[in-house]
């Protein structure tokens, strides 16, 4: 496991990581006795789509939350486009796990999307016509413009996920971090979301996704980051997403049949 990480580490160390969209050094996060993420380095390539992959409880979401300052790491540094996180908040958009909020909250779809404009609006800024137009445009991009005045609890899981994505679009960021956006959504939503993410990439934005479906990795992503508490592998899909790296990330938890299937898919 460690030798693989070291192998990948060499090529990254040679690169200039100063202006990378996201560079993490020596990150360790612990919720109790046992670390959830241990001494992880990660460098996200600009203008690419990166998947963070690993078994359940491997620290995927924790890595993302620590990178965003939502959970406090025990140690490590995070830099965003070459500057400390706190200075670059305006350039980051975040889509949390859908299950992390109470969808019974008394608010409408459009109000959630407007939350994406909160930095722009400030503490007491009035919501004006142009803000509403911007929010509607973002809803339109995820195909949810007809639902603007619905209470958020009246939506299906896939629709809720699209509203979260619309809120992130409203943030107009350069780096998009999404936590399991495809978890428990219908096929139409999955297609809509990947369409939006690919269009972000075409606009030169950087997209990082915590992902759990190994079958779609090669179709959706350019880069992968494999984690199981420690970093297992990092790099372009063709190099880092192999039967060997998967075996060391998932261990016995991935059936041999699955590995064979993925190896075949990878050629």
């Amino acid at each position: 496991m460690l030798s693989l990480a070291a192998h990948q580490g060499v090529s990254i160390a040679e690169q200039n990581t100063e202006d990378r969209p996201l560079a993490i050094r020596g990150l360790t996060v612990s919720y109790g006795q046992k670390p959830a993420v241990f001494s992880v380095d990660m460098t996200v390539q600009p203008g690419a789509m990166t998947a963070i992959i690993g078994p359940n409880g491997a620290g995927k979401s924790t890595l993302l939350k620590a990178a965003l300052g939502i959970v406090k790491p025990l140690s490590g540094q995070v830099s965003v486009f070459g500057a400390p996180l706190e200075k670059q908040r305006a350039r980051i958009a975040y889509v949390p796990q859908r299950a992390s909020v109470d969808w019974d909250f008394p608010t409408r779809v459009i109000d959630v999307v407007l939350m994406g404009l909160s930095r722009q609006l400030g503490l007491l800024g009035r919501i004006r016509g142009r803000h509403m137009a911007r929010a509607m445009e973002c809803l339109n991009r995820v195909g949810m413009h007809d639902f603007a005045n619905r209470q958020i609890g009246q939506l299906s899981g896939g629709q809720q996920q699209r509203v979260f994505l619309a809120r992130a679009l409203a943030q107009d960021a350069d780096l998009y971090l999404l936590d399991e956006p495809f978890a428990g959504v219908d096929a139409a939503t999955e297609k809509a979301i990947i369409g939006v993410l690919k269009s972000l990439k075409q606009d030169g934005k950087t997209v990082v996704v915590v992902h759990h479906d190994l079958a779609t990795v090669t179709d959706y992503f350019d880069h992968v980051f494999l984690i199981n508490t420690r970093k297992v592998a990092e790099g372009p899909v063709a190099d880092a997403f192999t039967a060997e790296t998967l075996q060391s990330a998932y261990g016995g938890r991935l059936a041999t049949a699955q590995i064979d299937q993925i190896s075949r898919a990878l050629g």
Binding site: L68, M115, S118, G153, Q171
Partner: protein, 309 residues
């Protein structure tokens, strides 16, 4: 009722009851949505040791030291609840349970160990306050509202609770957007630069100040009822937080006014001789409003509940 009778006897208790209800209902909206509603209950218990300590130190029932003692105890409790929650990594409700029983017990112990028998410091006073006694004897009619000499004789609870209500309203107005975002989605709020820990603490401290000011004037029954009943009833009237706040204020005013009037005249109408506690009746009215909203409110079903399929 004529102005000569209404203004000196009923105007001030009505206003104090109404202001106290609004001051508690406003932060109550956020506490209910954050599932921290019982913090009002916790605060009204934990202020007891603060009040007793203030009494021991000053040797008299005087308002300001007691308010300061109560506020100090409330803030200490809030910090202890957060500390127990974070260090013990347990849920907020359990942390509150530990802290407020401990502090209430400490208050009772202090009360028993010191000689407070000579003064009016008892359970009934703490629960129901004495709203009916907050009268304005200097007033002679509506004209007194503009008379500086008569205004000087206003019960001090009135300006105090009015100021508290204004402060609470200002806090909610000023931090409306971060409060709403962080109550809905704390993780996202952090990523847009909202300091959710500080804001959550500020909300609870604001609620504590409202609770202590209301506690001083009207007792803890109203505090507990007003943190929960008007916001919970309001939630069932609308699916928008902005509208919910409006409903909660309307319900708070309605409870205070109808509760006060019914406490004073209800027993007479029923043929009984005495009036009943206004604070108790205000709390009862808020409970009835909540029951009404739970039966007839347009948004009482959980829209977000997963369907059977």
């Amino acid at each position: 009722m004529s102005g000569e009778e209404f203004v000196p006897l009923s105007l001030t208790p009505l206003l104090i009851g109404t202001f106290a209800a609004i001051a508690c209902a406003l932060p109550g909206n956020f506490l209910v949505l954050r599932k921290q509603a019982l913090i009002g209950d916790a605060i009204s218990h934990v202020v007891l040791p603060g009040i007793v300590v203030a009494f021991i130190l000053t040797g008299a029932i005087s308002t300001w030291p007691m308010m300061l003692g109560a506020a100090g105890a409330a803030i200490l409790a809030v910090i202890m609840i957060e500390a127990v929650r974070r260090l013990g990594q347990i849920e907020a409700g359990a942390a509150m349970g530990v802290v407020f029983t401990t502090m209430f017990a400490a208050g009772v112990l202090l009360l028993e160990q010191t000689d407070t028998s000579s003064v009016h410091l008892d359970v009934e006073h703490a629960l129901y306050g004495n709203l009916e006694s907050l009268i304005w004897l200097d007033a002679t009619g509506w004209a007194s509202v503009l008379d500086p000499e008569a205004l000087a004789g206003l019960p001090p609870e009135l300006p105090r609770i009015a100021l508290t209500m204004l402060g609470v309203s200002l806090f909610v107005w000023l931090f409306w957007r971060p409060l709403k975002i962080s109550t809905f989605d704390e993780g996202f709020a952090r990523t847009v630069g909202i300091r959710t820990g500080v804001l959550g603490m500020a909300l609870v401290i604001t609620a504590a100040i409202a609770a202590v000011a209301a506690f001083d004037a009207v007792g803890s029954i109203i505090v507990i009822a007003m943190f929960i009943c008007p916001p919970a009833a309001a939630r069932m009237m609308t699916n928008r937080l902005e509208t919910q706040i409006g409903w909660s204020v309307a319900f708070a005013i309605l409870s205070a006014v109808t509760g006060y009037v019914l406490a004073g005249y209800g027993p007479l109408w029923l043929g009984a001789a005495d009036a009943v506690s206004a604070a108790g009746m205000i709390a009862t009215m808020s409970g009835l409003i909540l029951a009404g909203a739970a039966i007839w409110g347009p948004c009482r079903t959980r829209a977000g509940a997963p369907s059977a399929s």
